[in-house]
């Protein structure tokens, strides 16, 4: 969304939490398969995305970032207070001490199969975004990013397309939360701190928000790098120093992020191979 519309929303992790919550809730409530829960959770999160879009239609830049960050903070409080459902009674479905089993996808019962399952889902998500980028919503978003006035003058319904973008962001974040719930079988409020949203956004800039590769690089930095450092016996806080350096690097020399640099290098290379000028 940052890449397409130039809007900064910091509630992504909170939205993931909602997706995870709804997935768990449905899991214990109804005898539906995991996929159905996942889809319903994604749709529910999309509705939350739309609610978030309301302030976004009036605000942009720093103010939008602040509002969405506050929403994330509010969600963080709610998750911390009510916890995630684990098979208990009542609407919140929380019980202390033990939890009921979680039904994962029928196709993927082992962790390895689940990894493949998630990769397929993530690929579908990327394809979904790419389809948007190439079709009319992508064109409308590009023009909105250029200037809202120009978009309106060209017949783009700015309100519709902004809301649409928020809905998709909610849909994907909700799906991600559901997949996380499916992976762990239970969720903990510590996973969905609003500070994580800021970190994710910063890393999206480092990775290159314009490209799908950038999202992969961001995910690598966010999750795998600290784990690697831990494996090597280095203090994992070192990762934050690397993030900081990466962010400075992105801001100073690589506005399209690391992915932009890689793509640029690849283009240059292929041009050289074809014998043309880069």
């Amino acid at each position: 969304m940052y890449a397409r519309l130039g809007m900064v929303s910091l509630t992504q992790v909170g939205l993931m939490g909602i997706g995870g919550w709804v997935t768990l809730r449905l899991n214990y409530l109804l005898p539906l398969p995991f996929e159905a829960n996942l889809i319903l959770a994604s749709l529910a999160t999309m509705v939350f995305g739309w609610i978030l879009a309301l302030p976004a239609l009036r605000m942009r830049g720093l103010y939008l970032a602040l509002v969405t960050l506050m929403a994330a903070g509010g969600l963080e409080m709610i998750f911390a207070t009510y916890q995630f459902p684990n098979g208990g009674e009542g609407f919140w479905g929380v019980k202390i001490g033990s939890f009921d089993p979680f039904r994962g996808p029928a196709l993927a019962q082992t962790p390895e199969a689940y990894l493949r399952y998630v990769i397929v889902m993530v690929t579908l998500g990327f394809l979904f975004i790419e389809a948007h980028r190439r079709l009319f919503p992508g064109r409308a978003w590009a023009l909105i990013r250029r200037s809202e006035a120009a978009a309106m003058a060209s017949g783009v319904n700015v309100t519709l397309y902004k809301t649409w973008a928020f809905g998709i962001a909610g849909l994907l974040a909700g799906g991600a939360g559901g997949l996380l719930a499916g992976s762990l079988g239970l969720l903990d409020d510590g996973t969905f701190r609003s500070s994580e949203s800021i970190m994710l956004f910063a890393l999206a800039v480092v990775g290159g928000a314009q490209y799908w590769l950038g999202a992969v690089i961001a995910a690598f930095l966010f999750r795998i790098l600290p784990a690697l450092l831990a494996d090597w016996g280095v203090d994992t806080d070192l990762a934050f120093i690397i993030f900081g350096a990466g962010l400075l690097h992105a801001i100073i020399t690589a506005p399209d992020g690391i992915a932009g640099q890689i793509m640029g290098a690849a283009r240059e290379l292929s041009a050289r191979i074809r014998g043309g000028k880069p």
Binding site: A142, L143, M152, A153, G155
Partner: protein, 239 residues
């Protein structure tokens, strides 16, 4: 035909437009005036970015100020801005296609229309070039092509020749003159370049400090002493 009736705009205590009326009948009409005269404000009222305190704007008899800005575009209103509005990461083709994305029609009809208009402005070979790699003039031409697609009725250009060379301005002038024959649309041009205005505009509205000081056939208007006083700043001595 476009008709402006008693349009008034106030920004706080400043009267940016003071009961402006004009009935544009020529295929290409001009709006001129010194800086701050209210030319762009008038254009912004018509496109819906500025709310008027009073007055109406009729396009072929319907009051377009009642429509939301993006709906005016569907009704046939087009405009360009002082700075061309080309998205850098879309191709020339896509930048033009945006304009007709939200109206009905088959994909092949839309594609053919975009190609036809790109040919009109002379960019058919750059159709797949991303906006970021265009020159200033090519960006301006893409903007013009975007105004031409989707059966426009009224096209407004806000200082289209800003930053262009003499030869490019001449080319743009020819292009603007051909619009009426091509699409049937009426064109309004704001520019500082009096030479361009007098060459392409059959009638011209002159604004100064939010007031209409002259309106009529361009040659007569430009010969008007009041216009010379306000716009060319020569008649203060005579007055």
């Amino acid at each position: 035909m476009i008709e402006v009736q008693d349009v008034t705009v106030r920004f706080g205590g400043v009267v940016a437009l003071n009961a402006i009326s004009a009935r544009f009948t020529a295929p290409v009409a001009g709006i001129i005036g010194p800086n701050g005269a209210g030319k762009t404000t008038l254009m912004n009222v018509v496109s819906g970015f500025v709310n008027r305190s009073g007055g109406r704007v009729l396009m072929d008899g319907t009051d377009i100020l009642a429509l939301a800005p993006h709906r005016r575009s569907k009704a046939g209103l087009r405009r360009s801005f002082q700075k061309e509005q080309i998205a850098d990461d879309l191709t020339v083709f896509e930048n033009v296609l945006v304009q007709i994305d939200s109206i009905g029609g088959t994909w092949s009809a839309k594609r053919d229309e975009v190609r036809r208009m790109l040919a009109v402005v002379g960019l058919e070979r750059q159709a797949d070039t991303p906006g970021a790699r265009l020159s200033g003039f090519e960006r301006r031409l893409t903007d013009v092509a975007r105004c031409l697609v989707g059966a426009p009725k009224l096209i407004m250009f806000d200082e289209p020749a800003g930053g262009l060379s003499v030869a490019e301005t001449e080319r743009l002038g020819e292009l603007i003159l051909s619009i009426h024959g091509l699409t049937g649309a009426q064109t309004l041009v704001i520019d500082h370049d009096v030479e361009l205005i007098s060459r392409i505009c059959a009638e011209t509205l002159v604004l100064d400090f939010g007031r209409r000081i002259a309106f009529g056939p361009t040659a007569e208007v430009l010969a008007d002493p009041k216009v010379k006083a306000a716009y060319l700043g020569t008649a203060e001595v005579e007055a």
